[in-house]
Amino acid sequence: MASKASAIKSDPSKDPQVVEVEQGSQSSKDIISVIDSLKGQVAADRCSSIKKRMEENRQKLVGITNHLYNLSKTRKNNVMTEKNVDLLTKRQTDALGMLNGLDVNNGEKDNSSFQEEVHASSSVLLGTSSGSKSAVCPIKLPEVKTLPPYTTWIFLDRNQRMTEDQSVVGRRRIYYDQNGGEALICSDSEEEIVEEDEEKREFGDSEDFILRMTIQEVGLSDAVLDSLAECLSRKPSDIKARYEILLKGDKDLLCFKEREAEDDPKTDDSFLDKDLDAALDSFDNLFCRRCLVFDCRLHGCSQDLVFPAERQTPWSCTDEENVPCGPNCYQLALKHPSTATASSPVHDAFEDKPIDSPVSAGACISPRKKTTGSFVGKGQKSNQSESASSNGRNMSESSDSEIKPREGSPSVHHSPTPPRTKLVGKSGVRKRNSKRVAERVLKCMRKRQKKNVTSDFVSVVDGCLRPRDMKLRSTSRKENEDASSSSQQKVNSPITRKSRRKESPVPDIQKFLSVEAHDGPSEDIKDAPRTINEDISSKEEFVDENIYKHELAGDKSWKAIEKSLFAKGVEIFGRNSCLIARNLLRGLKTCAEIFQYMNFTENKPSYGSGDGANSLVEGHSKDAEPRTRSRFVRRRGRVRRLKYTWKSAGYHSIRKRISERKDQPCRQFNPCSCQSACGKQCSCLLNGTCCEKYCGCPKTCKNRFRGCHCAKSQCRSRQCPCFAADRECDPDVCRNCWVGCGDGTLGVPSQRGDNYECRNMKLLLKQQQRVLLGRSDVSGWGAFLKNSVGKHEYLGEYTGELISHREADKRGKIYDRENSSFLFNLNDQFVLDAYRKGDKLKFANHSPDPNCYAKVIMVAGDHRVGIFAKERINAGEELFYDYRYEPDRAPAWARKPEVAGSKKEESVPLGAGRAKKLA
């Protein structure tokens, strides 16, 4: 190509503009001829490339077929050695012999017929047909009973949402009618089919080639673009845009080559370069927070992220506190210097540290955490779940209070105002303290570093804008305060220390909020949170620098992701560096390093917001809008969320239904992300569903379904509010409904409600009956029960693909023709289709007088279809239920005898008083 290109280029190129102006028609002809020749060249290239590939393929194939030929020959040899007489071979030789015999006998006849054959006459030779055909008597193949027809299906033990590639909407589908022997197009009308042509076509290599060469030769002008556009059947603007891209691409390529020559790219761990949000992106996208699995088939990937308003208390470690977690444990690391200085009280003081570490961790994170933290710290380590539930109210209250920025509270105003004097005073105290505990070399060093840090801050900050200045000043004050408090540790009693600690973080957060609030309206800074973050980051840089300069050797600078992981670790484990090191930063940081960093950040008051660790603060600053997913990798397999569009005029295919009420389908639940008690904006409320445990809103939300408190009824009657609302009980929500694990050897949860056993969790727990698949007594396949059951017993779930109503309408067109439909109306958004995916209950047949009934039940936020026994069913009986087809669309076989005869549509009362309300 290159040589050809240069050949064309060698033409003396006239100024295309001039040519065009002077002899427009001439030049356009030229252009077209140039393009045509280029096109011819492309076509020739294509032909030769195909030829080459065909030849390559042929060469390969020769080897393959020869190998196969040899294989077939060895088979021949194999059998030659066998003693068994091969009847096929025998017949073969017989036939050959017969032919020879015939040849002798009927030679003339053969010849004559051949003669005829040459003339392509009507009488065609049948060789030895008469002879051998009579000799061969047909061998009967014994009849084998055929199976009732079915389509290959995949077993599902839980519903799946349809993946995009399964959709038939907008696709051309042809239905072949076996009886009529004709193919019918069952797809949508033409305008509904997605026009593929309208999608933007990519420019192929050869198109680029033509484009480039033409413009190279005749220059860039409108006429050229027009004729190019015509030849390539595109828009001139597209052509132009493409050309620009090409030019740019050339440059980029050059640059890239140069760069490549200059330096080889660094081999960095891409994962460590990202920050935590980016690293978590795949987690956020792929992990289902409802089912606690990756790649959830029911709720799909890329769900809206819902963060609960209530946070869990940090993990409280009970037994391992004083055992060093490994050679790099901070306890050991600290012991070394302390033993070097050989002072037992110091030692004690350090030993003290881990015990109250949860306290300070809690304090650092949030006021709420602090309370629970201190609670734990006092040694009242009760069962976490219990304390969680009992503290529930407290927590929600505290979280409520957190939500409102306490601008009005005096402490807020207090915090920014304390000026330098206080700082000085504090530092003075600090100095005194440090003098008093001068023997603690390590501590001292650290303090000095702190001092350096703070002084750095001040000096930097001085030059800044006022609000910022103020804030930073206050932070530095805080830092000093903290520093002093930590230096006073040994002097002060633990209780006073705690009280100090308690105070410090509260104004901390408030200050952060208040600064944010104050900054908002100020003209100097437009984007308050941003600036703050910038501040913080800059501060961090300083901090890092200082660490780098002054900290002991081996303290590498912390990467962003490590910081975020650390912050998460504090959130989960509290200030337990052993656990954080083991679980989150394994291989990245040692326990001692984490401990150092922890102490360090703790003293740096605004670390939380800076690291994104203090997610409460961060969360609240953001929680007006739900957290948007980061724009990084979007994984495959996203579930398309079709906006449900109800076409009133649309034709609805035959579907099984639960409800006889026509226009009251269940509502699909989608968790809301409200961060406070749900108000009018709550998506659940607007949608008409209750809030569930998956919602972001706190437990006190008025819209929450509160579960039941049943004690004796076993939740089997409508007295149970769960049962009455067609819901299964949820051990997370209901008071007395609990689930035991395993065989009890691992301990059982404390029983409540005197040995009460909830019977309304059968779908959740998959306590289903064994169902057998067999030949139905009615038609086709049928589902049978293995063991006998009593009335209202749960038999199993009707599972399938969750598809939209629109999709169901499209699929239904084909199913209706085939007269077999596995569609089942689930709720206002979804229809279950068990055609290709489902379970054995999809084969349960319809009967107007059934022994089972189906019921849509809300189980942990999802609607599911349970099949229940309507009466006592004996072992081995076939299962039937009423499909409840919409009467005017029910297939003839599904109509009740009374209805089937008459077209008149009115309610026909039937046994058991189940009148079918006809529409």
Binding site: L61, A95, L141, E196
Partner: protein, 370 residues
């Protein structure tokens, strides 16, 4: 069908016969009244290169091609179920080399006939609907694969009677599967096509242990842990209508829809991301009046030529591996006017058999030896 972009156009063969080879009718056989849907030579065993079989109605018949256009009937099998209508057959063989004949049809039962003992060897019940094609793995001829109306492709071990794998499910066909073929050299690879207008390439590499297990299985076949292969490695939308026949040509695929042509294309699969890839349509072999479905083509042993019948009883013989494609011959006979459902080319391509809807078998022999 996606519009081909400039520089990716296929090479289309011209319909002028090259007269490279000439054929003439040497025999015509009326087997019965019911349509014949399949005819195939035995390429599995070198002894039987001149043996072929046909299916139609509830009959399976084994013939031999002899010198001078003579066709001899060797064996005949009749299913006791009169409603059976066989659609397809394939030659296979047992481990010890006994020739098997595998046939399937509307009943959905695969019949494995041991032609060495003239007895039914096994009947495979499992498919939920009629069977549209059965093919044999040439490297391991006791493995057969079947394409069915129940939207699945299944791999069977004819020796032990085990259904080893089922190619269906989340990524499977969405309508009847009409045709399936083993890759000639890559033992793990098959291609299937059907009424959902797609061609799907499947790999059983990850499931090969099950295939091996099926040879040594001694327990009941029903207890075998049959596996579902749910995701093909490649899905190609080459056609916009039913795809009723596909065959591998080396690493390329020949497939046909009802568009009066056979298309040769290269699947460009991506190993890293299965299911994605591109199709490069290389060549097209026009076949006029071939616009009804269930017309299948066949190749000779070395894939030099392919023969395909059409709706009007004519046969087109294409040289497959030349570029541009060359039409070797166009065969027509005044009395052969009903649709030819399938053809069979002999080992070297010198004999072409065609079976018609009116129940006749036509034998064409090459007049000039190549």
């Amino acid at each position: 069908m996606a519009k081909t972009t400039l520089g990716c156009e296929p090479v289309v063969g011209t319909l002028t016969p090259s007269k490279k080879r000439e054929y003439r009718v040497t025999n015509r056989l009326q087997e019965g009244k019911r349509p014949l849907y399949a005819v195939a030579f035995n390429f599995i065993d070198a002894r039987y290169y001149n043996v072929f079989a046909t299916v139609g109605g509830n009959r399976v018949t084994v013939y031999q091609c002899l010198e001078g256009g003579v066709i001899a009937v060797l064996q005949s099998y009749v299913d006791e179920d009169k409603d059976e209508s066989f659609y397809t057959l394939s030659w296979a063989c047992n481990i010890d080399g006994m020739p098997f004949l595998v046939a399937g049809g509307i009943n959905g039962i695969i019949r494995v006939i041991d032609t060495g003992t003239e007895k039914i060897h096994k009947s495979f019940v499992g498919h939920g609907d009629s069977i549209n094609e059965v093919r044999t793995q040439p490297l391991k001829p006791s493995l057969v694969v079947s394409a069915s109306k129940d939207e699945s492709v299944r791999l069977w071990n004819v020796r032990t009677g085990i259904c080893v794998l089922i190619f269906a499910g989340a990524g499977g066909h969405r309508n009847e599967v009409l045709s399936v073929d083993f890759h000639p050299s890559d033992i793990y690879r098959i291609a299937s096509c059907g009424m959902d207008n797609t061609v799907k390439i499947w790999s059983m590499k990850e499931f090969w242990t099950y295939v091996e297990k099926s040879f040594t299985w001694t327990d009941l076949p029903s207890k075998f842990p049959t596996k579902y292969v749910q995701f093909p490695v490649f899905i190609a939308s080459v056609h916009s209508n039913y795809v009723d026949c596909n065959r591998w040509l080396g690493d390329f695929i020949l497939s046909k829809s009802v568009d009066n042509e056979i298309v040769l294309w290269e699947p460009k699969t991506k190993e890293q991301s299965p299911g994605e890839g591109a199709v490069d349509i290389l060549q097209k072999y026009p076949v006029p009046e071939c616009d009804i479905w269930f017309i299948k083509f066949s190749c000779d042993f070395h894939y030099n030529a392919a023969a395909i019948g059409n709706r009007e009883g004519k046969i087109f013989v294409w040289e497959l591996q030349s570029s541009p494609p060359v039409l070797i011959a166009r065969l027509s006979h005044m009395q052969c006017r009903s649709p030819i459902r399938q053809t069979a080319m002999s080992f070297d391509g010198s004999t072409i058999l065609s079976c018609c809807e009116d129940g006749t078998i036509w034998r064409w022999d090459s007049t000039v030896t190549p």
